[in-house]
Amino acid sequence: MNPVATPFFFYVLAAVMIIGGILVITRKNAVHSALALITTLLAQAAIYLMLYAPFVAGVQIILYAGGIMVLFLFVIMLINMERNLKERQFNKQWLVGGVAALALGGLFISVYLKTTKGVMLFPEGRMTYGESQNTQAVAALLFDRTSGTYMFAFEIASLLLLVAIIGAVVMAKKRI
């Protein structure tokens, strides 16, 4: 089968992500912003899929698009929209914002110029794992006794989440 990870798909998905990201910050209506964010996250899942990481793409859809964003929408729907629509959207920080954006853009461009000399940027010919072993490969990276390098980081992240859950329960509940 021909690889699907062609530059064309990358540019289409990247364009969807960028347009979605711009819509998130420019829409006055918070629900529209949230929907634009969902579009961005789904395009990101598609990019993971393009990079031959179907497991990460699936988890992205379940957690972000299906779980977290639904909770976002849940909260937004309870906000009084009438007042929200009249508020001014941006603070006058365009100078600081512009400098920060330029610095970040410069960083990206310099990394791009430095690392891609004579190297193909798109993973067209660089399939690391076959589609059929991707999930197993992720598990091996995390949990394998010999090759598992990210076990500690993974467990630390889960501890962080646990602390956050306990914090949320303590804050939400008046009497424990």
Binding site: P54, A65, G66, V70, S132, T135
Partner: protein
């Protein structure tokens, strides 16, 4: 496994002698042992997509009639009787009514979101069928992340429901959408834990490597010689129970149909929808029911495997079970003929009588075709899968006829305080059982 003929592109057979090669092409398909997606064959994948989409629509129409009939008989009524014999044409009449109805959009609605919501719900409900394994080769494609794909895409339908409720800009839909998002997110957690316990079962055995692929899960059950509902008794059964409860809540069906509780919220999130858009919600609800039922069948009830593969094995039993699909269709045909004979002998009923007899003839022909050995081997797995899913569809109707609706706090309590702890405990116990299985067997062997 590699079937070279499956790879022949449509272009090649177009070029040298279309008819002859077409027959060869179809034959190559019949002999292939891959799904069209795995073989990378766009032509057969398109055919499969059309067949699944069309079949699903027909099943939804049939479900509409069956639900009204079965509920009516449970409540000692007759149900639809006027349009066609025994109301058989009622769903078609309803569909025509829905398509011709004026499509109303509230003046204060958010037009774009209101327009997109039913589309998202329908897309999410239909896309999951890409990985549903009707048989070892009868799936549009097999993904390595099959079950994750199904859960992820079906969870996107919540977005459509929330969007519909919010965009209607009205009180009842908004409350319906709030209820629905809370309910679907809560029950997804318990559902996920039950699914993970099954994924553990696929790996905890010397015969198999763990897998998330839908076809792989059924093949693991085949290799281990047991359906996962009976594995580590009663752990598999508990997992199935958790899933069976949360799948009803996920699809917003009675007794968990609070998002569209008609006595409190008119129709919940789709109160403001009418005509064609409403029918899209209807279509999505029923195809989502079929989708979660097929997850349950694949994970716990052995997918396309026939019942009693161990107890009643051997070629005689294989043949006997192979005849059941054809016999089922002949049985339905016999019912049709019986009722044709019972139709009132009045000139006004002539068209209906002929129609019913014709329907019976069609069913009988399908039944007879299913006795041809080649066809019999090919459709057996589709039949068993569909029969199991049909059992779940009947359960859905039965629930609706039996249980009163829960209160919302009761619903949340069941989800978070009963099913979730059960799911976590189940996960731990399954993992323990899987690790201890081999040592205990060895120990028993030494005794």
């Amino acid at each position: 496994m590699h079937d070279s003929l499956m790879h022949t592109s449509v272009m090649t057979w177009m070029m040298n002698g279309p008819l002859n090669n077409f027959v060869e092409y179809v034959e190559s398909y019949l002999k292939s042992n891959q799904t069209p997606g795995a073989a990378g064959n766009i032509f057969w994948a398109a055919v499969y997509i059309l067949v699944v989409f069309g079949g699903l629509s027909v099943v939804v129409i049939a479900m509409n009639w069956l639900e009204r009939k079965i509920l009516a008989h449970m409540q000692v009524r007759l149900g639809p009787m006027r349009v066609g014999p025994h109301g058989l044409l009622q769903p078609i009449a309803d569909a025509i009514k829905l398509l011709l109805k004026e499509d109303i959009m509230p003046a204060e609605a958010d037009a774009l979101v209101f327009w997109a919501a039913p589309l998202i719900v329908v897309l999410a409900a239909f896309t999951v069928f890409v990985v549903v394994p009707f048989g070892p080769t009868h799936a549009i494609t097999d993904m390595n992340i099959g079950i994750l794909f199904m859960l992820g895409v079906s969870s996107l339908s919540v977005l459509g429901v929330v969007m519909a409720g919010w965009a209607s800009n009205s009180h009842y839909p908004l409350i319906g959408a709030l209820r629905s998002s809370a309910q679907m997110v809560s029950y997804e957690v318990a559902m996920g834990l039950a699914v993970v316990s099954v994924i553990l079962m696929t790996s905890l055995n010397a015969t198999g490597v763990g897998t998330l692929s839908m076809i792989g899960i059924v093949q693991a059950q085949q290799a281990q010689g047991t359906w996962f509902i009976f594995k580590f008794f009663p752990l598999g059964l508990i997992g199935f129970f958790i899933f069976a409860v949360s799948m009803v809540a996920e699809t917003n069906r009675a007794p968990f149909d609070l998002p569209e509780a008609e006595s409190e919220l008119t129709a919940g999130f789709h109160t403001e929808y009418s005509g064609f858009r409403w029918s899209l919600f209807f279509l999505a609800e029923y195809s989502a029911m079929i989708a979660v039922s097929s997850i349950a069948v694949t994970l716990w009830l052995g997918g396309w495997l026939r019942p009693f593969p161990n107890l009643l094995n051997g070629s005689t039993w294989d043949l006997a079970f192979g005849l059941i699909p054809g016999l089922t269709f002949l049985f339905f045909a016999a019912i049709c003929f019986f009722n044709t004979a019972r139709m009132p002998k009045h000139p006004l009923f002539r068209v209906q009588t002929i129609g019913l007899a014709g329907f019976g003839v069609v069913l009988a022909v399908i039944g007879l075709v299913m006795f041809i050995p080649g066809v019999r081997d090919r459709v057996g797995d589709i039949f068993w899968f569909s029969a199991k899913v049909a059992g779940f569809m009947y359960l859905y109707i039965w629930y609706r006829g039996t249980f009163p609706r829960y209160r919302f706090d009761q619903l949340m309590k069941v989800g978070w305080k009963i099913l979730l702890p059960m799911g976590i405990g189940l996960l731990i116990l399954t993992a323990t059982a899987g690790i201890l299985e081999e040592p205990i067997k060895e120990w028993l062997h030494r005794l």
